[in-house]
Amino acid sequence: MAKTVLIIDDSKAIRDMVTFTLEPHGYRCVGAGDGSEGLTRLRAENPALVITDLNMPVMNGIEFIRHARQDAAGAGIPIVMLTTETKPEMKAEGKSAGATGWINKPFDADMLLSVAKKLAG
């Protein structure tokens, strides 16, 4: 069965980009436009991997991760932050919130794919 990847980003272009990269490799991609929509999706879709942006309206990525980790649906699911933010403090904050990893934008397709394989199998 295809593994589901949840992409949370307020930019549809980014969501599309991730989808176009992963879908040909057998992942099923679903999107959400902000953290709070992401939580709803997380509970509904049981994804094998979550890729989330950091700066988003309504609920940002860090908050999303915190909520997700406290939720039965989010425990143990790999959550990768996908962001242009490069500051170590932000990275540390993400990690302490419970993020599994970190991908910097811009990313390339191979990189994204290898991360998906590494974390979702």
Binding site: G76, T84, K95, L119
Partner: protein, 657 residues
């Protein structure tokens, strides 16, 4: 990268919308800089920067990076929001749009980057961010440096790896990492269970294990490190020694299922999206077109079924459905007029600085919805009128203070119903100057004593241009005649009211939609015409006795007011009507009443407007055509043109009289 092409156009569209929004954000920021606004600006820039680099807009992304830096400083309170920052930001935002318009990296973007304006902009940004002015131009904001994968011959690596206790909770999968190592070469895996607590004390959600992996590979160290990119909190030790090329190692990685077995079944659910759908405007036009045909077909059906009782209920049902469908479709095309207002704020800001006048723009009724086509065509004339108000209407601060007005002038913009009024509290139109100018241009005879509103209409005359003769400030942009041309094309009307010293108010009346109008069906001999109901004031009987001949032109006396009227037979070059009992439709356009004489009034008709063919487009006096219920074609009368023609004839005749 071919598979991401559809995403590129999505990015361009998205970025454009984001940057439109950015302008409003920046202008808001100027008047009220709260943390949320600043965050929003930062987020906007951040998004464009991040996406830009991925979609082949590296130049845009690099530029945005500097811009973003500035707002990062604002966010941290190290830079304050002032006029200078907003100035710079607005310019930077314009530059971003220009870069976006280049359609990605290439000679266009490179050339644009090298323009003096762009260089100055970068320098200014570098200055306020305090960045070393030798900004790493051309360097990507951050690129993961990939050292060239130098192939090293057969090495044996020992990797000791112990994830932090929280790793499993946080989604780390040591099994996948070890499997990934297995992909690099041959591995031998040993588990270190030394830290495993007694079963009673075991928290299954924590990671207690460590692994020692011996890996024989010809891959460089960086390839191994790449496996552990996310494991930076784990204990990790990678040591290597050069070995003889290792014999094929039969040991396969043995990895226990370290993750608590979670329900893996991924339920397939139909995707429900609450998002809006973006559709090219052309497609909406297509639907509107089809719908127009449907309305016509339905009208024909109704007419044919009027003698068939058993069809009646079905036809009524169809009529109801078509009406619903039409309303729904029209509503899709509606946009709040606010969309245009956004543009005004920038115009007012820029012009304020340019003219050295302090002006406040007040907009009201921005939520009023109006057809997208109307909005698109409206924005230019509205901007022009606002420029006019600021340029000619609003006085300089000194004059204003002397006149007892606040130094800051106001330009007001309202969008109630489909009446759009632009109002300023400036000096008002100078009636005497207009009069003098009109006489000079031959638009008015020196004896003529037109009323004020008639006089003000003259500013719309072609050739009256920008009215720059009315004030010392030079005019700019198109003249008011261009405004009226546009409004006419939209089947609207313009009215001007002004009081010397108090201000000017220009009102545009506009139809909510362009596609369908309510029309009045009139008969002329055996031909049928449509008069847009919106411009119809009343219908009266034409009593021959009431006609008063006045130098070849007819006037009609309605409730003690003389109203000029045109016999449509004459206008359209038809044979004079022989009917004894005729009617007059009184229409109003440009604030002028005019009677149109017809043979009969047939009733109201919802009209789907079809544009005239290329060959007939230049025919004056018709706004289009429509198809009637019986399938015949009726021309739609362009009231504004007829009125203007009548007025022009009257003006021509006057001097001769």
């Amino acid at each position: 990268m071919d598979e991401i092409n559809p995403a590129v156009s999505a990015f361009v569209q998205e970025a454009r919308e984001i940057l439109e929004g950015l302008e409003a954000l920046l202008l808001d920021l100027e008047s009220d800089s709260d943390a949320e606004q600043i965050d929003a600006v930062f987020r906007t820039l951040h998004t464009v920067k991040g996406s830009g680099a991925m979609f082949g807009f590296g130049t845009l992304s690099r530029f945005t990076h500097h811009f973003e830096d500035a707002f990062d400083r604002v966010r941290e309170g190290r830079l304050s929001v002032d006029g200078r920052l907003i100035d710079l930001s607005l310019k930077a935002r314009d530059h971003m749009i220009a870069l976006l318009d280049c359609g990605g990296d290439g000679p266009g973007a490179t050339a644009l980057e090298a323009t003096p304006g762009a260089v100055a902009l970068l320098a200014a940004l570098a200055e306020i961010t305090g960045a070393a002015s030798v900004a790493p131009k051309g360097a990507a904001p951050q690129a993961t440096p990939e050292p060239a994968p130098s192939r090293t011959a057969g090495r044996r690596w020992t990797i000791r790896f112990r994830p932090e206790p929280d790793a499993l909770r946080n989604g780390m999968r040591p099994d996948l990492l070890i499997a990934e190592l297995g992909g690099l070469g041959s591995v031998e895996v040993g588990a270190d269970i030394g830290a495993l607590p007694a079963l009673a004390d075991l928290d299954p959600t924590l990671s207690h294990l460590g692994w020692t992996v011996t890996l024989d590979t010809d891959q460089p160290r960086s390839a191994i490190e790449a496996v552990f990119i996310f494991a930076d909190d784990a204990e990790l030790e990678i040591t290597g020694e050069v070995t003889e090329p290792a014999p094929e190692n039969p040991v396969r990685p043995v990895v226990g299922q370290a993750q608590p077995a979670a329900g893996e079944a991924s339920r397939k659910k139909p995707e429900k999206t609450g998002e809006s759908v973006r559709v090219p405007a052309g497609k909406l036009d297509e639907i509107m077109d089809q719908l127009g045909e449907l309305v016509i077909a339905q009208a024909r059906l109704s007419q044919m079924a009027s003698h068939e009782p058993e069809l009646e209920s079905v036809v009524e049902e169809v009529e109801r459905l078509v009406t619903g469908l039409r309303d729904a479709t029209l509503s899709i095309r509606m946009l709040p007029i606010e969309v245009v207002f956004g543009k005004f704020r920038r115009v007012v800001r820029d012009l304020s600085a340019e003219l050295g006048k302090e002006v406040t723009l007040i907009t009201e009724g921005g939520e009023t919805e109006i057809d997208k086509t109307v909005i698109d065509r409206l924005s230019e004339p509205l901007v022009h009128m606002i420029r006019n108000s600021m340029d000619h209407g609003i006085e300089s601060a000194g004059v204003r203070l002397a006149a007892g007005k606040p130094a800051r002038g106001t330009v007001r913009q309202e969008g109630g119903e489909v009446l759009i009024a632009i109002e300023d509290d400036g000096a008002g139109l100078d009636a005497e100057a207009i009069r003098a100018k009109a006489i000079e241009r031959g638009l008015l005879t020196s004896e003529a004593q037109p009323g004020e509103s008639e006089l003000y209409q003259l500013i719309f005359a072609p050739g009256f241009s920008t009215a720059k003769e009315l004030s010392s400030v030079s005019g700019r942009g198109v003249g008011m005649d261009a405004v009226r041309t546009t409004v006419d094309a939209l089947r609207g009307a313009v009215e001007v009211a002004s009081r010397a010293g108090l201000g000017t108010r220009v009102t545009l009346r506009l139809p909510v939609t362009l596609a369908i109008i309510d029309g009045l069906l009139v008969r002329l001999g055996d031909a049928v015409f449509v008069i847009p109901l919106a411009s119809v004031e009343e219908c009266v009987e034409l009593d021959a006795a009431e006609r008063q001949r006045e130098s070849g032109r007819t006037m009609l006396c309605i409730r003690e007011h003389l109203v000029p009227f045109l016999d449509l037979d004459v206008v359209f070059g038809r044979d004079p009507s022989t009917e004894t009992r005729r009617r007059v439709v009184i229409v109003k356009a440009d604030g002028q009443r005019l009677g149109l004489v017809v043979d009969d009034i047939l009733g109201q008709h919802q009209t789907v407007i079809k544009t005239l063919s290329q060959y007939h487009r230049d025919v004056e006096g018709f706004a289009g055509a429509t198809i009637l219920g019986d399938g015949s074609v009726a021309l739609i009368i362009d009231v504004a043109t007829l009125t203007r023609r009548a007025l022009a004839e009257r003006a021509e005749r006057k001097p001769a009289a």
